[in-house]
Structures are given as structure tokens and as C-alpha cells.
């Protein structure tokens, strides 16, 4: 019933990576993404794309954890991007102001190019 979150990694280069998410981004799902993101940041990644293609449901607690990831990355001088959001998730990101801190791309190809990945 829940669509438990799963994360997959595409490590593009020493400073860049893509994380693919599948399932519900709630508190548990958000923490899972954060753990993977912080591991990558510790390992030198400064350009991180989150591809949410297979995530159809989010909640505001999960998104607040994504905001924390963005803040930590900005502190390190890096950047976070998002791509492949459903219309409703895109709208939720806009309400919660994520577009102010992170770039949102419609498709992965554009995201990879613009982020130099």
C-alpha cells in the first residue's frame, strides 16, 4: 500500500551524481534520501541531481528534509537540482519555496547538461 522509498545512484564523476527515487517521500523516505546525499557530499559531490521520476507521492515533512539537504549543500558551495516531477509535486515544491534554493528541470537530459553532469 505504501510505496516504500528506494534510492538508486548514478555516480557521474568525482564531484557529481544523480540519485533516483522511487516511492513515497515521507519522513522516512526523506531521511533515506538525506543519508545518501550526505554520504555523497562527504565524498566530494558538489553537484547533485535528484531525479524523482518514480515518486508520485510526497508530504510536507519529506519535502522539509529535502530543504535541509539543499541548505547543507549550499553551505558547502555546491548545488542541488531536481527533475522529472509530477505536476502536483512541482506545485508543492513551488508552494514550499524550493525553487528559490534549487533548480527544477523538466527532463533529465536538460538537468544533466545544465548542471554539468
Amino acid at each position: 500500500m505504501t510505496d516504500e522509498l528506494r534510492v538508486a545512484l548514478d555516480r557521474r564523476n568525482p564531484t557529481g551524481a544523480v540519485l533516483f527515487t522511487k516511492g513515497y517521500i515521507n519522513n522516512v523516505g526523506g531521511e533515506e534520501i538525506a543519508n545518501r546525499a550526505y554520504e555523497l557530499m562527504d565524498d566530494g559531490v558538489r553537484s547533485l541531481l535528484l531525479n524523482l521520476r518514480e515518486t508520485k507521492i510526497v508530504n510536507s515533512i519529506g519535502i522539509s528534509i529535502l530543504i535541509e539537504i539543499i541548505e547543507k549543500m549550499i553551505d558547502k558551495g555546491g548545488k542541488i537540482g531536481f527533475c522529472c516531477l509530477t505536476p502536483v509535486i512541482h506545485k508543492t515544491f513551488q508552494i514550499m519555496g524550493l525553487a528559490n534554493y534549487a533548480s527544477i528541470y523538466t527532463d533529465e537530459e536538460t538537468a544533466l547538461r545544465e548542471m554539468g553532469l
Binding site: 507521492i57 510536507s60 509530477t86 528559490n100
Partner: protein, 146 residues
């Protein structure tokens, strides 16, 4: 617009992790039967998710249950209307105070977006709250999915 078909469902759900998905899915099934477009259903689902999480996380209710009522109607020309009530028997809260707190924080706050998300995704929202509990009533209008 006159109602041509009515569907109704009442649920009593336990306050356990992710139970919001059960509420959203039940409403989604009903809305699909009324021909509501999938993007509208998805918005309604996300609003319901926030309302159920608020009941679970903030109400402090002793009976640990979320009461959900869903009423759907097919209107003329393939339009539909879904009314949703999400209730808890918790301590209630001061809506004005919650709104003021949110405004004071400006746009930098991480938490405290639930009610705003609900209002953005639904067409009508009203909250009744007292020390006996809280009911949030939300309405979504839908156009037939093509």
C-alpha cells in the same frame, strides 16, 4: 448544475504511519469512478495526506483514530464534486494563531506548510476546531478526464 449520481464513504482509520495513503487511495478510487481527471485526484490526495498527518501528529487524540468522510457527486456535463471531511477527537488548535505564526516565520520555515498545501490543492477549505477535536472540510471540483 444538478447532481446526477452520489457516492459516499466513511472510514475510521488508526493513527499509524502512512495510514494517510489509505485515505487518499479510497478517495481516489471514488473520484475515478466519478470520472475526475487524474491530476485533480492527485491534488486531492496530497491535500488529504497533509490533513491526516496533522490529525496524527498534532491532535493528541486519546482514541488514536482519524475519521474520514468522502462524498462524491457527478454533476452535469461530466463535472464532479468531492467533499472530504477529516476529523480527529484531539485537543484542537487556534487556526488564527497557527496562521500568524506561519506569517511571522516568512518563507524560511521548513515545517508548517501543511495547511497552505491543503489550501493550494483544494477548491474550498474550512476548519472547525475546539477542545473536542478538529474537522477539516475540503472540496474539490473535477472535470471529466479525457
Amino acid at each position: 448544475m444538478t447532481a446526477t449520481a452520489e457516492r459516499q464513504m466513511e472510514l475510521t482509520l488508526p493513527m499509524i504511519p502512512d495510514i494517510e495513503i489509505a485515505a487518499a487511495r479510497a478517495a481516489g478510487n471514488l473520484a475515478r469512478e466519478l470520472g475526475m481527471a487524474s491530476e485533480s485526484i492527485d491534488e486531492m490526495a496530497h491535500a488529504m495526506i497533509e490533513a491526516c498527518i496533522n490529525a496524527r501528529e498534532h491532535s493528541g487524540s486519546a482514541d488514536k483514530r482519524i475519521y474520514v468522510k468522502i462524498a462524491g457527486a457527478s454533476l452535469s456535463e461530466g463535472n464532479s464534486r468531492i467533499d472530504i471531511w477529516i476529523s480527529d477527537r484531539g485537543r484542537g488548535f487556534d487556526v488564527t494563531e497557527a496562521r500568524t505564526r506561519r506569517q511571522k516565520l516568512g518563507s524560511v520555515h521548513k515545517r508548517g506548510w501543511g495547511l497552505q498545501i491543503i489550501e493550494a490543492h483544494m477548491d474550498e477549505v474550512s476548519i472547525e476546531t475546539s477542545t473536542d477535536g478538529t474537522t477539516i472540510h475540503m472540496v474539490k471540483y473535477g472535470r471529466r478526464s479525457e
